[in-house]
């Protein structure tokens, strides 16, 4: 039994890597918002759920392939996030962090209940003509949806990294993250940067929604499954670190996959909790987090 499991390890690692890339996207949004606004976005799971539904209905009613839907859902999510922060969260919170926290918590409750009301609590799935096609690597079959979402996640992470590292907007976002008053004095509109950051964080969820749906399901509470994992990734990678989110996503994806292989589906999650505890004990700033 164990020998067989060991022979399946490479396949499990690869599968974990694939799923980890989507985890990374969810974590990326969370860590970015935390890094700049210094709040945990409690509405993160609910927003991922909305992105999944958006993708689902685009497919169901308009016949739009989920991967094609990326070019609609990503900008749509950005605009939704930007507007929600600019004219909702930002205005209502009067700049107080604890208010933002409560508002995002309230939003998640509203979104989940609205979803239950409008979309019912049933699990919904889509099936694509190529859902079961796969690449044969000899030791493992990788389904098209997994490979596509892996590559797309990496590309999106790379684009985000490029934005943050090289553009004026990215530098302004990083500047605001650590020195708000200095940022105001060079002429950065800090409130606008907050809204943009929130928008980008939600856009990451939009991407995750499109990439996830073909190999997953959606119901009003799906998002939360991912956000708990994403939170672990953020702590593991280091709060606010983009590279940390990516690496953390891979580590958690692989851990979950190997845990499932050796301990079974239900116990497989233990590995994630274990990592979470070990990180908190031995390296509370995370792998790539700044030391305080």
């Amino acid at each position: 039994m164990l020998a067989m499991n060991i022979s399946m390890m490479p396949a499990a690692v690869l599968n974990g890597l694939m799923f980890g890339a989507i985890y990374a996207l969810v974590a990326l949004g969370l860590t970015l918002i935390y890094g700049v606004l210094h709040i945990i976005n409690f509405a993160h799971g609910a927003m991922l759920m909305l992105a999944l539904y958006a993708t689902f209905y685009l497919f169901k009613f308009a016949g739009i392939d989920p991967y094609l839907a990326l070019i609609i859902v990503i900008p749509g999510s950005y605009i939704f996030g930007y507007a929600l922060y600019r004219w909702g969260i930002g205005k209502l919170s009067h700049g107080k962090d604890q208010n933002i926290l409560l508002i995002t918590l309230g939003l998640s409750i509203i979104f989940e209940n609205a979803a239950q009301f409008f979309f019912t609590a049933d699990q919904q799935t889509i099936s694509l003509s190529y859902s079961y096609d796969s690449f044969d690597l000899g030791f493992v079959y990788l389904s098209y949806p997994k490979v596509i979402s892996f590559v797309a996640s990496l590309v999106i992470c790379l684009m985000l990294w490029w934005l943050m590292a090289t553009t004026d907007l990215g530098k302004a976002i990083r500047a605001v993250a650590k020195e708000r008053q200095g940022a105001r004095l060079v002429g950065i509109n800090v409130e606008n940067i907050y809204a943009i950051t929130y928008g980008i964080g939600i856009a990451c969820l939009g991407a995750a929604g499109c990439l996830l749906l073909p190999s997953f399901y959606v119901d009003p509470y799906t998002g939360n499954i991912f956000v708990i994992v994403a939170f672990t990734i953020v702590v593991l990678g280091g709060m606010g670190s983009i590279v940390g989110a990516l690496v953390g996503g891979f580590i958690i994806g692989i851990t979950e996959s190997l845990g499932g292989l050796f301990l079974g589906e239900s116990l497989g999650q233990i590995g994630i909790s274990l990592i979470f505890i070990l990180i908190l004990v031995f390296r509370p700033t995370g792998l790539f987090g700044a030391k305080q």
Binding site: K178, Q181, G182, R184, G187, I188
Partner: protein, 233 residues
């Protein structure tokens, strides 16, 4: 170019500034002196648009700017180098300078950076270093350089000598004079009375949120009242 009239300002219910009148002409160095808590930074930050004044007017080059958004004020060329430097610690020196020109686009960026490195040659070797890892004096250079990158017409310096060693303080005042010689008007906010008056054209003394004294720097140096309260002579 800057005209502040009957300015009242503060924080929420706390009034700090009471009826401030102050003006700066082009090309001048105007010192604003006062002890800790006198309201100097409150004045700067109100002028820079970080806080809305309770009453009064602030005009910059003939345009009313009180209550205007801080980014618009920077765009007009009124730039502040804040107390405590407030450089972006997680950005490199180069990126800090680039962010100084956030409102200016990239047209003059390379040229202006070159100019600033001529003023602060020390920074040349540290362009890639994170600003948070620099010494206090170097951070002050980055902060001033960043301010200059905004192509200011009037530069407010809030306690640029604070926390620097005596030698660096000396250099800082020389440098301020040099920047001013290029035609830039400067508001020099300081507790360092003697050295400030030595480089300034005119000065205001702020006490408990009010202007207690003002006049040409050369006259204030001889002022008995000032000597008594600040120099202990």
């Amino acid at each position: 170019m800057l005209e502040v009239k009957s300015l009242e300002a503060g924080y929420g219910l706390v009034q700090v500034l009471r009826g401030i009148d102050l003006n700066v002409n082009s090309g001048e160095i105007v010192a604003v002196l006062g002890s800790n808590g006198a309201g100097k930074s409150t004045l700067n930050n109100t002028i820079s648009g970080l806080y809305k004044p309770f009453a009064g007017s602030i005009q910059f080059e003939g345009q009313e700017i009180s209550g205007m958004a801080s980014e618009r004020i920077v765009e007009m060329g009124l730039v502040q180098v804040p107390e405590g430097r407030r450089v972006f610690p997680n950005l490199s020196v180069l990126e800090n300078l680039e962010m100084g020109s956030y409102r200016r686009g990239k047209g003059n960026r390379a040229k202006n950076i070159e100019h600033i490195l001529e003023i602060f040659p020390r920074l040349s070797a540290r362009l890639k270093q994170l600003a948070g890892t620099l010494s206090g004096g170097e951070q002050q250079m980055v902060a001033i350089g960043r301010g200059l990158m905004a192509e200011p017409r009037l530069l407010i310096l809030d306690e640029p000598s604070l926390g620097l060693s005596p030698l660096l303080v000396e250099q800082m005042f020389t440098l301020i004079k040099k920047i001013n010689n290029d035609g830039l008007a400067i508001v020099l906010v300081e507790q360092n009375v003697v050295q400030s008056l030595a480089v300034a054209d005119r000065a205001y003394v702020l006490e408990n949120g009010e202007i207690a004294l003002s006049g040409p720097a050369s006259e204030l140096i001889d002022d008995a009242q000032l000597k008594k309260s600040y120099l202990g002579i």
